[in-house]
């Protein structure tokens, strides 16, 4: 789950890391008031869950409260990469002596959280790591032992900091490490972390991402912070297809279906599964010249109604008149249930299953029963002796009117 910058600031603040006297505003009037309270030059920043704010004009500088209100009005109306801002952040323009980078994230290979610290803040950390490796300190944390300050101190010292700079940065990094663990963040980043003219440290920008699987145990704390949990925070607006499939899945606890069509623009409907099978089949269709209209996943033995629901949604998509029903060998999901579901979908939409289902390739549990049903409706099917690649090729050939060969020579 991604957080808006103003939410990330609240989380950082709550963890005891100093932040500026920022204001989160949803109207130009609020922005003016915030700028007045700050008293001095301000920065107005769009609150959207997407990058490239600066380039898009979503970050502007103001010298007076009136100017702050003016910028806020413009930014509140400005869509960035298809995202509308939920508000603006009004921040004092700080007198920065030095910028640093501090982050704690998962190192999947070490299976531990890793602290990162650099005295070259404000810029892309991957670039710093590549060009100035001596300016990036790293250190891993145990998942079981308490987090000790000395571990943060070592990371900061590796970059060459000393004196009060070292001590102040250590406190920030140690708190950030505890924040990452306590809040189940996949990424807890402060960039830049600034040292002001009086020597104090303050987080000028923060980027927090919480693991979706862990949100359930932070509901109360998130509500206290004013985080709207009903906001889906998707990277893009879900399509009608995606919303409908989700609703069908939620209506019945048996099995799981998923459907996505963001980025898919083809004409071959895919009713496929399970996780790895869907990835393999989508690739196989594309590699043989097919153009998928969507991606889907069937798993965990869904009901007939659920399988039917997915197939109907795929068939209702514009430009789709054939579906390929394919899975890797199933051991839990029943072949006959999926067969009944997809045939029902065709019939309810007034379509001939034999014409509409380009290929049915689901081998495994209850396959004999499934094949009997498919026989009755004249649907072409195959068992495990026909590979996933070959089955995908047959579907592509059918939709192209025999244009592509079934043995995999892509057209």
């Amino acid at each position: 789950m991604r957080f808006y910058e103003y939410e990330s600031r609240r989380i950082v603040e709550r963890a005891g890391i100093p932040v500026t006297q920022y204001g989160f505003c949803t109207t130009p009037e609020e922005a003016r008031a915030a700028a007045e309270r700050i008293g001095g030059p301000t920065v107005i920043k769009s609150q959207v869950l997407t990058g490239g704010r600066m380039k898009a004009g979503g970050v502007r500088f103001a010298d007076t409260p009136d100017e702050a209100a003016e910028h806020a009005a413009a930014i509140l109306d400005l869509e960035i990469n298809g995202h509308r801002p939920v508000g603006v952040l009004v921040d004092p323009k700080a007198e920065v002596e030095q910028e640093y980078y501090a982050a704690v994230l998962w190192d999947g290979r070490a299976k531990r959280p890793m602290m990162l610290f650099s005295d070259m803040g404000g810029i892309d950390i991957e670039q710093v790591a590549e060009e100035h490796p001596e300016h990036v300190g790293r250190g891993h944390l145990s998942n079981l032992l308490p987090i000790s300050d000395f571990q943060a101190k070592e990371v900061v010292a590796r970059v060459g900091l000393t004196g009060s700079e070292l001590n102040r940065a250590t406190a920030v990094l140690a708190r950030l490490a505890r924040l990452q663990r306590d809040w189940d963040m996949t990424l807890a980043e402060i960039n830049p972390l600034a040292r002001l003219s009086d020597g104090s440290f303050v987080a000028l920008d923060a980027h927090m991402e919480m693991e979706n699987e862990a949100v359930f145990r932070h509901r109360k704390a998130l509500e206290e912070l004013g985080v709207d949990l009903s906001d889906p925070r998707e990277q893009y607006e879900p399509s009608e297809f995606e919303r409908n499939v989700k609703a069908i899945d939620a209506a019945d606890h048996r099995g799981v279906i998923q459907g996505k069509d963001h980025g898919f623009h083809g004409n071959l409907g895919l009713v496929i599964g399970a996780g790895g099978g869907s990835l393999t089949l989508t690739d196989a269709v594309r590699a043989q010249g097919g153009k998928p209209a969507n991606y889907s996943e069937i798993g965990g033995n869904p009901s007939v109604a659920k399988a039917k629901g997915l197939a109907m949604e795929v068939l209702k998509k514009e430009g789709v008149d054939k579906i390929a029903v394919m899975m890797s060998i199933v051991s839990n999901t029943r072949v006959d249930i999926v067969a009944r579901g997809v045939i029902k979908a065709c019939l309810e939409l007034g379509k001939d299953p034999a014409e509409t289902i380009a290929i049915f390739r689901i081998p495994g549990a209850w396959e004999e029963e499934g094949y009997k049903i498919l026989d009755r409706y004249g649907v072409e099917y195959c068992d495990r002796s026909v590979s996933m690649w070959e089955a995908a090729g047959r579907a592509v050939a059918k939709i192209q009117g025999g244009g592509a060969s079934a043995n995999g020579e892509a057209s």
Partner: protein, 305 residues
């Protein structure tokens, strides 16, 4: 000989009274596996397909009258860490975590404790493992007769980030007459108990295993770790890889995950294209078509196709 499992391998099922766990228990018993107990707190005294149910792992061990080798954990995500800790602290050395959607911190804690105690975790978000003809631990391959159809004893070790694809690939190896020494569904999450590289030494030491097939996906650094392992060790085992999810490299798919939680691409190195290049450069062929796997393995083993 197989790895990790043996004829007299004993295990319990934690969360045994759940719907999926009841099925899995029957499948394993039918296959001939020795399921010596089950645990569901508050359900002591019941039986699941003749397997006694206990409140604690400690009771299950006491009833068995000696150490139990393994546990299949099927409890809901919020309780999974506790269940795994309980298994580890009661001396269980091989833990298969079936549960999906466990928070990463909990998984990392389980793995760290397992390391401290000399235990091994397979999963989470996996279907378990099977030594064909010897023992099936978890839902892998499904009902005993289906598992027997897809998995026949043989010379190839299989490791897969997808449970279903473990069976698909093994079935094709069985059909090609190569067979399977041990097949492991290693799990689809970002952090898992046993990676390819961490399992390689076991296959290396197993006389039955002559080659390895891995199924892999975008996301994570597990393939880079395998390449490093190969470079540091003089391995006798040829590896054939298959990469699914190449379509995720498209610009429009950026930041999305498909199939499994672990497919989230967090850096350039995690993409399918980068991984394929890395594996190929290390002498691990990555086949384009899933059905090329058996022939490619035969070629590397010097077996007539």
């Amino acid at each position: 000989m197989a790895i990790l499992l043996s004829e007299d391998f004993t295990f319990i099922v934690q969360g045994i009274t759940g719907r999926e766990a009841v099925n899995l228990t029957k499948e394993c018993l039918d296959y001939g596996s020795k399921v010596v107990g089950g645990v569901t707190p508050g359900r002591k005294g019941r039986e699941v397909h003749g397997v006694p149910v206990f409140d604690t792992v400690e009771q299950a061990v006491e009833n068995h009258g000696g150490p139990i080798d393994g546990s299949v954990v099927t409890v809901p995500p919020a309780f999974a860490k506790d269940a795994v800790f309980e298994a580890i602290e009661n001396g269980i050395k091989l833990i298969v975590v079936v549960t999906e959607r466990i928070p990463r911190r909990d998984v990392a804690q389980m793995v760290e404790l397992a390391d401290l105690r000399g235990a091994r975790i397979i999963g989470p978000n996996c279907l378990g493992l099977i030594a064909p003809g010897i023992c099936k631990m978890g839902g892998i391959g499904g009902p005993a007769k289906d598992a027997a159809k897809a998995y026949q004893p043989g010379r190839v070790g299989v490791m897969s980030r997808s449970g279903g694809m473990t069976t698909e690939i093994s079935s094709s190896l069985t059909a090609a007459g190569l067979g399977v020494s041990t097949a492991i569904s290693i799990g689809g999450d970002a952090i898992i108990g046993s990676t390819y590289a961490e399992l390689m030494p076991l296959f290396e030491a197993d006389e039955q295993t002559e080659g390895i097939v891995i199924y892999t996906e975008p996301g994570g650094r597990m393939e880079a770790e395998l390449v490093d392992w190969r470079e540091r060790n003089d391995s006798r085992l040829p590896i054939v890889a298959f990469m699914a999810g190449k379509f995720m490299d498209d610009e429009e798919m950026r930041g999305m995950s498909f199939g499994h939680a672990g497919t989230i691409v967090e850096g350039k190195e995690d993409s399918a294209t980068e991984k394929i290049a890395r594996l190929e450069a290390a002498g691990i062929p990555v086949v384009e078509r899933i059905d090329e796997i058996p022939d490619r393995v035969k070629e590397l083993l010097g077996v007539a196709a």
